[in-house]
């Protein structure tokens, strides 16, 4: 594993962390890109998905969109945008390409989450005289929350990983560490860059999982259910 120890040496060299080509600067660019793209994607996709899920239309669209999104290579979209008139505006091609890439998982998961809410619960809420808005905010959204968050989390991790492609047409982000190492035939630097991105993606995943636990409107209910289930299985285990 010479490559890993080389990468470790590269990472522990202070000089590689400072300056405009340094890890700190690139990491900042990478995070900035990720956050901007994720926020734009959620702002675009969530209202549409929640509304479609609420009225129960457009299922085929929501589902097929994610398949189409997967079929379009982000690298190709990025290069097309860089060559288009938009290419003059620095970061915009990258942002647009990543948003196009992140919208499908957010939209599809949120839509499915809304559709999977128990129909009986929705009917009861309507029977209690809830308006459409109340139903959406107080019933469907809390129940669909886990799947909605799964979509956002998937998109976040994928955007972190994919934002490295911004480096190919000369954009910023951690991808630059990799491409620079590539151009210098410096395997240690390439491995170091790859490790940085992978660790960042895993951190984002972990943060989202924690946030989901923490922000789930039904967390107490779900925890209680789990405890009841565990209690039952424990009883069953002691009984047998």
């Amino acid at each position: 594993m010479g490559a890993v120890s080389g990468a470790w040496t590269w990472l522990t060299t202070g000089a590689h962390w400072a300056g405009t080509d340094g890890v700190v600067h690139r990491l900042g660019e990478h995070l900035y890109l990720t956050v901007v793209c994720l926020v734009i994607s959620c702002v675009l996709a969530l209202p549409v998905a929640l509304w479609l899920g609420h009225v129960g239309r457009g299922g085929a669209l929501a589902v097929n969109l994610s398949n189409v999104g997967r079929a379009v290579p982000t690298f190709a979209v990025l290069v097309l945008l860089v060559l288009s008139p938009l290419g003059r505006y620095g970061q915009w091609p990258t942002v647009i390409a990543l948003v196009l890439f992140a919208v499908p998982p957010v939209l599809t998961n949120a839509y499915v989450g809304m559709r999977e809410v128990d129909r009986d619960v929705v009917e009861s809420a309507r029977g209690m005289g809830m308006t459409g808005g109340q139903l959406l905010w107080r019933v469907e959204l809390p129940l669909a929350f886990p799947l909605i968050m799964t979509g956002v989390r998937t998109a976040a991790v994928q955007v972190v990983a994919t934002a490295t492609l911004a480096a190919l047409p000369g954009g910023g982000g951690l991808g630059r560490v990799i491409t620079a190492g590539f151009n210098r035939y410096d395997t240690a630097q390439v491995v170091a860059g790859a490790l940085l991105v992978a660790v960042l993606a895993l951190l984002v995943e972990a943060v989202f999982v924690a946030a989901q636990r923490f922000a789930d409107p039904l967390r107490h209910r779900r925890r209680a259910e789990r405890r009841v289930r565990r209690g039952r299985t424990a009883e069953a285990a002691t009984a047998s």
Binding site: R70, A71, P73, A76, E116, T150, V191, A201
Partner: protein
């Protein structure tokens, strides 16, 4: 749009480009096709034993899933760069990277598919004297097919688009044309290669859907509602989109 003019003017859409570089486009498309096909096939061959081991031997399930998830967070650009010292500049770099990516999706979906087999069906087969192997191949796998095929479709479509990034080692199929077009600002080449790429992904998806239909004739008479099973969603949501 007279023939030569669009090349000189560097238009996005250029019939003359397609005519004059037909052999180049064909070669890139063929390379793209075989890289994708070989990768997904190898991924499937490896995913089955892994999924079966993870199912048979519970302690292995966690590590197998964790390992494949971690693989998934490695960006394609980094993955190919990391494999470069191992294989040198060759197609093996891209194929290995794609195999590792498709493993993630396939192992997950095979496991989900096998778990979705009703216990009654298993019991009935055992009662009829089926051994574990016969049970697996004649009962469990056919019933798990929809989930497995869903995973295979995602893996294939993703592989088609992830192949393009292989251009950094010179084995990216149509990605090579996109990459050189990026450096020379050759619009027609970038657009044409991208379009072929998307068409290829969609065609592969439809082909696999047709195969799935042929292999699972018993699902055809269950009405439309059954096809939108929630379970298929949860497994399909993890797919890596195009890169």
């Amino acid at each position: 749009m007279a023939g030569q003019d669009c090349l000189a003017a560097n238009d996005w859409i250029c019939g003359e480009y397609v005519r004059s570089r037909a052999h180049e486009l064909t070669a890139a498309t063929v390379q793209h096709l075989w890289i994708t096909a070989v990768s997904v096939a190898l991924g499937l061959l490896l995913a089955f034993p892994l999924a079966l081991v993870a199912r048979r031997w519970k302690p292995a399930a966690g590590p197998v899933l964790a390992f494949t998830t971690i693989l998934y967070t490695v960006p394609s650009l980094a993955m190919y760069s990391l494999l470069l010292p191992v294989f040198g500049v060759s197609a093996s770099v891209v194929v290995t990277g794609l195999v590792l990516y498709s493993l993630t999706i396939l192992v997950r979906n095979i496991l989900a598919g096998l778990e979705s087999v009703p216990e009654d069906a298993r019991e009935a087969a055992r009662g009829m004297g089926y051994g574990p192997l016969r049970l697996l191949f004649t009962v469990e796998l056919p019933l798990a097919l929809p989930a497995v095929m869903a995973g295979l479709r995602i893996a294939t479509v993703s592989a088609v688009s992830l192949t393009t990034v292989g251009a950094i080692v010179g084995y990216g199929g149509l990605g090579n044309l996109i990459y050189t077009g990026m450096n020379s600002l050759f619009k027609a080449q970038v657009l044409t290669a991208s379009v072929i790429c998307v068409v290829m992904a969609v065609a592969a998806d439809l082909l696999l859907l047709a195969v799935q239909r042929l292999l699972t004739p018993w699902t055809r008479h269950r009405g439309r509602a059954r096809r939108l099973r929630p379970r298929a969603w949860r497994t399909a949501g993890t797919g890596k989109a195009a890169v």
